[in-house]
């Protein structure tokens, strides 16, 4: 089955710093979503981005489907950005099943 690898596994930032999180996947996908799990456990969808670039405030994401990777950019990080960031992918004809990466655990210190 498709493999999803996220890097780095852990990241510590000072407030105000920028960061890039990466998601590599082993096969073509028609579905790629980035999620943030906050320290209270809530999973929030950040982007649905099987290809191209999207921006939402201080966050942006780019997926290069032909090269099988996606990047999540966090600019001017805030303590509320702390948590785990997951990348999840899905393939066509797979009943919308998402395969999840292991996540990047981000801690933003004040």
């Amino acid at each position: 089955g498709i493999q999803v690898e996220q890097s780095p596994p852990d990241l510590i930032l000072q407030e105000g710093a920028n960061s890039t999180l990466r998601c590599n996947f082993s096969d073509s996908v028609n579905n790629l979503q980035w999620f943030h799990q906050n320290p209270w456990g809530q999973l929030i969808n950040l982007f649905y981005i099987p290809s191209g670039t999207k921006q939402n405030g201080r966050l942006s994401a780019t997926t290069v489907a032909t090269e099988r990777y996606s990047l999540l950019y966090i600019s001017s990080s805030q303590t509320t950005d702390s948590g785990v960031y997951f990348c999840a992918v899905g393939r066509a004809g797979n009943n919308r099943k998402l395969i999840w990466g292991l996540g990047t655990s981000l801690a933003v210190n004040p």
């Binding site: 028609n30 579905n31 979503q33 999620f35 799990q37 456990g41 809530q42 999973l43 929030i44 969808n45 649905y48 099987p50 785990v84 997951f86 999840a88 899905g90 009943n95 919308r96 099943k97 998402l98 999840w100 292991l102 996540g103 655990s105």
Partner: protein, 114 residues
């Protein structure tokens, strides 16, 4: 107004018991999912229903039985609970369209089996 809600939020029970978790969504979605998140935070799909029809049934013990009485509800019943069932169970929902849609998650049910 909560979009995807789950009850209970916490569940502590003894090995061997039977328990149920309920999920409801008010987003008008037609597809619902159950995920399990283990202690290492790994998320794995367990089941998915589209218009009350089971469409994803991963390798899950028969002790787990989902039920979807209508498009807005998906429940999970677990028989003969085991220690290894301790995890966070998330319900999610989405629309089924020509292309995959964003999945929206409930707050999770934290299950601890003693």
């Amino acid at each position: 107004d909560t979009a995807v809600s789950q009850t209970p939020k916490y569940l502590v029970t003894q090995m061997g018991n039977d328990k149920s978790i309920k999920c409801e969504q008010n987003l008008g979605h037609d597809t619902m999912y159950w995920y399990k998140q283990d202690s290492k935070k790994f998320l794995k799909i367990m089941f998915s229903y589209n218009n009350k029809e089971l469409i994803i049934n991963e390798t899950v013990p028969n002790r787990f039985s989902p039920k979807s009485p209508d498009k807005a509800h998906l429940n999970l019943h677990i028989n003969s609970l085991e220690l290894g069932d301790s995890a966070v169970y998330f319900c999610a929902s989405s629309l089924w369209t020509a292309i995959p849609e964003t999945q929206y998650f409930g707050p999770g049910t934290r299950l601890l089996v003693l």
